[in-house]
């Protein structure tokens, strides 16, 4: 699904991602953990094309994607959320979702005039789908509100909803549960499991260890830019290097 080979990225003298290689394979939900500043977000930016690699290659479904602009990678079936929640504050909650539908005919000029009917049909379908997702995320009552008025947790859910609109092959989520309340976390977990059962692959960064252990079949561990271990949740929990990475560095035993 997603394959990285010798991926490197540095900022000035700091090597944020150091020679990372792995293949997500066919695993439903994979996790990425590591202490603060270990390079997880940077790696996600590299995968989604927001940062350019210094060296190495990344491929999605066997196709090389490193070097492509973010929108092209997104069109190939990779959807992402951001660690710092980013909704479109002045657009309505509903419009936030509808605008996430990929490859809309009506975003081009000529079809607006020469294929108006088709554009309208497509728009109606997208609207219907967006309403279903709002229903599923229990945000229906907020559909017409500007997304900037939603609570932090609701905005996180909305971001996930945007990902759902896209029918992606792979979703990468940067700390999806950070700062949201336990009941929202449960509804998020349910949604993620449903997605996995539909065959969508998920790769997530998360500091909430019980959650990672519950959701992820396979866990990758980063420390100071390097991939130091990967394995099942049990293997990771018992691994000495992983424990050292967390306890030895900054006592961040998340």
């Amino acid at each position: 699904m997603l394959e990285l080979k010798n991926v490197r990225k540095s900022f000035g003298g700091l090597i944020a991602v150091n020679d990372v290689s792995f293949d997500l394979g066919d695993v439903g939900i994979s996790g990425l953990i590591g202490p603060n500043g270990s390079g997880k977000t940077t790696l996600f930016h590299l995968i989604s094309g927001f940062y350019k690699l210094d060296s190495g290659t990344i491929s999605l479904k066997g196709e090389p994607i490193s070097g492509l602009p973010p929108h092209a990678i997104s069109q190939l079936g990779l959807s992402r959320t951001f660690q710092q929640t980013r909704v479109l504050p002045f657009l309505s909650t509903l419009d936030n979702l509808i605008s996430a539908a990929p490859n809309q005919l009506g975003e081009n000029l000529l079809p607006l005039f020469f294929m108006a009917k088709k554009v309208r049909q497509e728009e109606a379908l997208n609207r219907e789908k967006a309403m279903e997702i709002l229903e599923q995320l229990k945000l229906s009552d907020l559909a017409t509100l500007p997304a900037g008025d939603l609570s932090y947790g609701q905005q996180k859910l909305l971001e996930l909803g945007r990902v759902l609109m896209a029918d992606p092959a792979l979703i990468i989520l940067d700390e999806p549960t950070a700062g949201i309340n336990p009941s929202l976390i449960r509804s998020l977990v349910t949604t993620l499991k449903q997605l996995r059962d539909k065959g969508i692959k998920i790769f997530l960064v998360e500091h909430n260890m019980p959650l990672v252990a519950e959701l992820c079949e396979k866990i990758y561990v980063m420390d100071s830019g390097a991939l130091i271990f990967s394995g099942s949740p049990e293997e990771v929990q018992g691994n000495k290097r992983v424990i050292e990475a967390y306890l030895g560095r900054d006592n961040n035993a998340a």
Partner: protein, 290 residues
């Protein structure tokens, strides 16, 4: 009555101009401070061609095409720049166009401008022509408004707003932000060119002095006062600002102060812009109230 018609025509021309800027500024979030250049390009292209015997309809079409092509070229070179630098680059572009008009005397007659720009025969040039021109300008305004409404209410307009709100999110959602912004700039330039065309054939005399930073501020004022991000806002904004300007002219000012009137008008516009931004940044027509 004629005077009222005259002001109405001016208001419509500036409304079209304001709506065209709003597509870039209000929808795509592109702070284009050189939009007057496209007004000038439209006006000069159509004027020069028709003065040289090209039939007016053909001259008009050519003017729109030229404005669009130059808009695409400007987009190609400026869209790589972020926020502030884009604004500065477009401002510089407008200055360059003005310098070109001033200095290419063989073609543009420089500061002397182009007098005697022809009008379509059926409009004529006497007082009765005013009504016809009012009709033409009114139809032009309606067409531009409806066209822009079509774009605004379509996925295209929404996608522009996504780009405006958060370019990273737009990219993460698979939107080719450069392409979307280029399209906004091309359409905006063509419509600004159209406003310029109407201006040239209405006033029948143009010179580089008509297309300065002052006019840029004037049209910005129309957009900001009217309300950016809607089409109705700049449409009304154009009328409001033009009528306001005429109203200010009628304030009785003792003749010994008359030399202060022009700078005073500029100050009033500047002051109005600041007050609007502070007190009602969303403008008369607010985007979110739908």
């Amino acid at each position: 009555m004629d005077y009222l018609y005259h002001i109405l025509v001016l208001a419509m021309i500036f409304s079209i101009f304001a709506m065209s800027l709003n597509l870039e500024l209000g929808f795509a979030g592109l702070y284009n401070f050189g939009h007057i250049a496209f007004f000038a390009i439209g006006a000069y292209t159509s004027a020069l061609l028709s003065l040289n015997g090209v039939p007016i309809p053909l001259a008009v079409v050519a003017a729109l095409v030229v404005a669009g092509v130059i808009g695409a070229i400007l987009a190609r070179f400026t869209l790589g720049l972020t926020g502030d630098y884009f604004g500065i680059a477009t401002l510089v572009f407008a200055e360059m166009v003005q310098l070109l008009l001033l200095n290419e005397r063989d073609i543009t007659r420089g500061p002397m401008g182009l007098p005697g720009i022809p009008r379509p025969a059926w409009i004529g040039s006497g007082p009765e022509s005013l009504v016809w021109f009012l009709l033409v300008a009114g139809m032009g305004t309606a067409i531009v408004f409806l066209l822009l409404q079509r774009l605004a209410n379509a996925p295209f307009g929404r996608a522009l707003k996504v780009v405006r709100e958060d370019e990273f999110v737009a990219q993460a959602l698979g939107k080719d932000t450069t392409r979307l912004k280029t399209k906004a700039m091309v359409v905006g330039s063509v419509l600004a060119g159209f406003a310029g065309v109407l201006w040239a054939h209405y006033i029948t005399y143009i010179s580089p002095a008509d297309f300065t930073l002052n006019e840029t501020i004037f049209v910005l004022l129309c957009v900001v006062v009217g309300g950016k991000g809607t089409n109705l806002g700049p449409l009304l904004g154009g009328f409001a600002i033009v009528f306001f300007g005429e109203f200010v002219r009628f304030i009785p000012i003792p003749s010994e102060f008359s030399r202060f009137v022009a700078p005073l008008q500029g100050m009033i516009y500047g002051g109005l812009l600041i007050v609007m931004m502070l007190k009602r940044p969303q403008g008369l027509i607010s985007e979110s109230r739908r």
